[in-house]
Structure formats: structure tokens, C-alpha cells
Amino acid sequence: MATNEAYSAPEAGGKVKISVDPLTRIEGHLKIEVTVENGKVVDAVSSGTMFRGFEQILIGRDPRDASQITQRICGVCPTAHATASTRALDDAFGVKDKITTNGRLARNLIFGSNYLQSHILHFYHLAALDYVKGPETAFFIPRYAKPDLRLPEDINKVAVDQYVKALTIRAQCHELVCMFGGKMPHVAGIVVGGATEVPTKEKLALYLAKFKDVEEFITKEYIPTVYLVGTVYKDLFSCGAGWKNCVSYGVFPMDDKNSKFLLKPGAYVDGKDVPLDTAEIKEYVKYSWYDPSCSNLHPSKGKTVIDLKKKGAYSFVKAPRYMGKPCEGGPLARMWVANPDLSPIGVKELKDKYGIKAKKFRDLGDLAWSIMGRHVARAEETYIVMNAVKDWLKEIKPGKETIVPAPVPASGEGMGLTEAPRGALLHYVNIKDSKIANYQAVPATIWNCSPRDDMDQMGPVEKCLIGVPVPDIKNPVNVGRLVRAFDP
């Protein structure tokens, strides 16, 4: 039994500042500070507290190494970085229009199965302990003294059983990634020009056979459980709206021309749909530990110069903005932009358990822009990617070429856009004398967990925290719940 001791005494006017550091059950190192007044968050600060410097480390290296090295930006979504990096290299090497159909499909199969792994891992092993009471043993304890865990005992037991089963299911998803990826985490099989391994009839049959358990778990356990947990925590559908802006670069190319994606590119800014224009992406560093010369730059002009002494700075995360606005990324963004049909499971659950008649994602309206709404978006997206994987398995041709020759150019420039499970991901490469002269990565969580920008606008998570109820400052459970809904 433990509490989060608020170490700052209440200020005049009854405001209390509390810190959640580390914010656990995420990838990486994050510190969240909120100011609470009258039981609600009135100010928030999101701080990335770790820096490695991939952009500096890549300079001078063989460009082909980028897709291996940048995978190590993240061990949960290395396939996303492999995808963004090879798309940038495809562009710079002059082969992006030459990727074979089979190469595209092999990449989709490798990347797609890791989407399923990532989303299952997120709900059960990262988020669930905010809603489910684990066994009375490490690491499920210690927990907050008053953790606000509301599931009835019988449902809680089912949830715990699913948590344990999900460990196996997500490992099985990694077996699927490994089939054409070589190993996972950090695949060998996605390279510039395509994918290294040509599928065989036998391997495709094995992939499909192994897939059955995953499909069963997603449809019979994961998706229904998200909706069920939502009914018990209904209040979490009405907080965490934030700016209500989002951006998606599009993911899983469905044709060889990169003109059609499973989840389409686009942005939604100030209540309006806008087509994606990558020229509108800029990074700001006023509140980040970088030299001011790094601010207000398109990633193709991006710079990474550290300044730890900078006044006012509080994060290693830069602040990317689209059309000058903070935009969130992730399943909510992709589903909102694409507005696909909801799963049959979802349609039924919403009708039976929520009394909501919904057919398409946007029918959820304001409910989507919330803590729980982001979990629903992720579950619904999992259903779409799951079905797409089955289609790609049928479409890919055994024995057909998966790669095109891609010699290292003396010079070149390329941008690779994709969507990591947690949001918009961009890699930029500039090659001179056959070596990397500049490399910039703008990962998903940079968008979501960004600090304020040069215009003093809060980042998405900071804005979304405003108004979130924190009735008990010693047990500020909703802070973690809000942040984890983004899967940082």
C-alpha cells in the first residue's frame, strides 16, 4: 500500500502541483507534472527525460545501416522505424516507384503483425493495470492505496486470465513477424528496395495456421473486453478531449503507386478535414533542450544541437506542429481521418451496452476524443489490420520477387512517411559522398507528448490533461490513465 506524496505544499488559492515521475507502463522515460485545483487538472507539463541522439549517431554512416540502426529507436515498434527508414532510403536511392507488389505485401505482413502485437501488448500489459486488479504479488503490487479499480470480482478474474493469455498471443504475433522478418524485436527482413525473403507456399500456410489463435483472441476477447471495461469506467469517455486536432500520414500501401493506403493520410485541424501536405510539418524547440537554431524547421532542414542550460526548457522532446497546430497521432487520429466502418462486434456492443447507434467511427463523436475513446479506437483499428493481414496472405505470391536492386547513390535525399502503432512517423535522409550527411526522425510520441511550442501552445497530452478529474492528489490515477491512452 503506498501513496504518491505530493511534495509541494498547497499554494495560495488551493493549487497543488503533483508529479508522476516515472510514468511507467510506456516505452521510454516520461515525467508528467500537473497542477490540480478543486479536484481538476488546470495545468500540465509533459517532459521527455531521456536523450540518445540517433540523428547525431547516424551521420557519416553507410545509408543502408539506417534501417537497422533506427529500428533501435523503439523495441516495441521497430517494424515502424524499419518501414519509415526504408521508405526514406527507397526515395533517396531512386527505387521508391520500383518496389515490387510482393515486396510491398511482404513488408505489410511483417509490419501488420507487429501492429497486432503492439495493440494487444498495450491494452493488457501497459494499460490494463489502471483498470484491473492484478494478483497480490510483485509486480502487480505495490500500487496506489486507492487505485479506483472498479471491475466486479468475476469480471476482474476474467481480465487477469486474459492478461496472462495475452502474453502468449503477443508472442505468437512476433512469430508471425519473424516468419518474413527473420527475428523480432529488430527485424532483418525489411531493407531498402523491399523485403529479403521470398515467401513459399508452405510458409504462407504456416503463417495462416498460426494466425488463427491471434484472430480468435482479438475478436472473442480483446475487442469485447475493451467495450466491457468502458461500461464500468464510463466517466472516462468525457474527459481528455484536448485540442481535437489530429494528423495521419497513411499506412499500409494497398497499391504499388503509394496512392492508396489501408488507413488513409490526412489531417483534421480546427474542425476541418485537410489533405496531408508534408510541407506543413515543422518542429519547434522553445521549451526543449536544443539550441534555438533548431526551431521552426521542416524535418528536411532539421538540426539536433543540444543545449542543456536553456532557460524555460523542460523536455528532450521537440514540438512538431502541423499547420502551426498541435496535432495528436495514433489509432484515434487514423480512425478519425479514415472514418471506416466499425467492427460488427463494436456496432453490437455500442448498441447493447451503451445505447448508441453507430456504424462508422465518427458516429462516436465526442466520445472518441477521450481517455476511453482512444482505447476503443485502438481496438477497432486492430480489427481492420487483422482482416488486412488475412487479405495480404491471399494476395502475396509464393516465389515472386520481393526486392529490387538498390545500389547506394553518391548523393540523394529521401523522406519516408508511415504510421507507427502510436502515430505519425517520419524519417528523412540526406546522402552525400555515399554517406549519411543528415538524418532526422520525427516519431509518433514526439507529436503526442510534445512540450509547448514557440507559440506557447501546449502539446496534445498536456492539453488533454486539462480538466481531467484528480479528486485525490495522493492517488492521481487519472493522470496515468490519460497519458497511457496514447500508448507513448
Binding site: T24, R72, H186
Partner: protein
Amino acid sequence: MSLKRRDFVKLCSGTVAGFGISQMFHPGLVKALEAATEPGRPPVVWMQGNGCTGCSVSILNSVNPSIADVVLKVISLESQETLSAAEGAVAVDHMLDIAERFKGKFYYISEGALPTAEDGRFCTIGVDSKGKEYTVLEMAKILGANAAACVAVGACATGGGIPGSKGNVTGCVPLHKYLESQGIKTPVINITGCPPHPDWMIGTLVHVLTKGIPELDAQNRPKMFFGKNIHDNCPFLPYFEKNIRQKNFNDKKTEACRADMGCKGPLTGADCFSRKWNNGTNWCVENAICIGCAEIDWPDAFSPLYSPVA
């Protein structure tokens, strides 16, 4: 909930092929086996510095034993940032509490590199209930000094990895180098790999808990997992000897040696050739090439990754 020793060993039979090699006992380890939060479940604190969480994700892929069995029946995983229910000061206080209460009796598993530049400012890991902020260096010092033994997992923690490679401004170093610099003599086992295979991590833990520190090579890696050279044991070795080579990834001739494509098998010691990856599904050489990620000086000594070994 805990297991009898022979059931425990049986449970791990798939993992520890190669068990029964000579071992060294460290006095603190016997104590660790005796002292536990529950009988038979030694306390473990896992902390990540400048890493990517890949090692944590990889260990979740353990099949035999399942990771569920490991954390519920074998060890008491007191703190693990990716999985722990605790957050904030609750989490930090708990790490400090375990280090103090089980001084000399717990295991510290270290993931990620340690940034020594700028007094450790490139990674802070949390704030305790007294309001003190800890850099990863400060916490690594406390955990390292108080643990019975340390297990460094992954390229970053064993050799510096990518964060410690050429061009970095963070001064990232592996755990053993940092502890040496602080005069801390707690033994450190290095489990290399980017990431390590789950069997390498769990197999080493099992060996440590039941038989003590396994036989280690010059980089303090368990010989049972890293003692054999990939090239010498590669299924494509006969093709190498006949000079049948795959020229590039387009070359349809896949029943061939991958040396010309940059395969680093000749420089790498790891049992991927027999264990394979992800429950025996595939491995890097079959699928593409070996990039040498299990060697302690990866990646710089192996770069460019796709250029042939001289």
C-alpha cells in the same frame, strides 16, 4: 505459488540445453536464494537507462518457461518500468526499499546504456516521495552496490550499443564500465544481443539461481549461449567451402553462403544457428544476413553492416 527445485529445472529444460557446465559460486548468491519475499522467489529489480525497451519485449517472448511462470513462480520481479503497476514516487520508493531491505540478496537487471556526460542529465528515471530526482546513474550506483549480482542485458548495457557508438554526445557506457568507475565490485554478467534472445536471459537467470554464475567468456558472457561461432556452425558453411555465394538480396540463389552480402557470422559468437528466433520460427542468416548484434563492440566494429567481412 513457488516451485520445488526439480520442477523448476524441468520447467526450464527447453531453455538450458547446455546446462551442467562448470560454474562459479559467488557467496552472495547463496544468500539470495534464501532471502526472498516468498520462499524460493528471489527479488529482482529491472531498470532501464538509455535503451529502447527491446530487451524487455524480447524476454516477454520466452516460451519455455513462459514469462508468466517466470514472474509468478520463479522470481519476484519487484520493479520493471514497462510492466509495474506502480508509478511515480510509489515506484521509486519501492526500488530504494528493495535495495535496502534485501541488500546483498537481490538481483539487478540492467537494460540500456548509462549516460555519463553532463552528470547523467541525459537520463533521469524518477522522483521519490521526498522530492529527490534520480538520474539513472545515481540509481544504478545504489542498485549495483547493493545487489548480489548484476545482469546486464542487451547491446546497450553490455557494450554501450547504439547510444554508446560513434557520434554520441551522451557519453553512454555499459553497466560494467560504470560500476568499475565507481569502485563497485558486484559481479556483472553480460548477456549481449540486440536484443538478446529470451532464452539467453532466462537461461542465465535460471543458472544463477540454481547453480550460481555460469562459465563466462572474456566479455563475461555465458559460454553456454555465446561460446560457439555462427560461421563455424552455420548450415550454409558447406556452400562457403564450395564458394557458392549469394551475391545480393536479388540473387535467387538462396542455398548459398551470405558472406558477400555482409554476413558477420564469422565474427559472431551466439547460438542463433541452432536455437533460431521466436520459438524456432526463423533466424537472421536464413532470412537475410547476420549483422553481429551479439558481439560486445556492436555496432561500430561491424559497420557498415552490409559490407562483407574483409
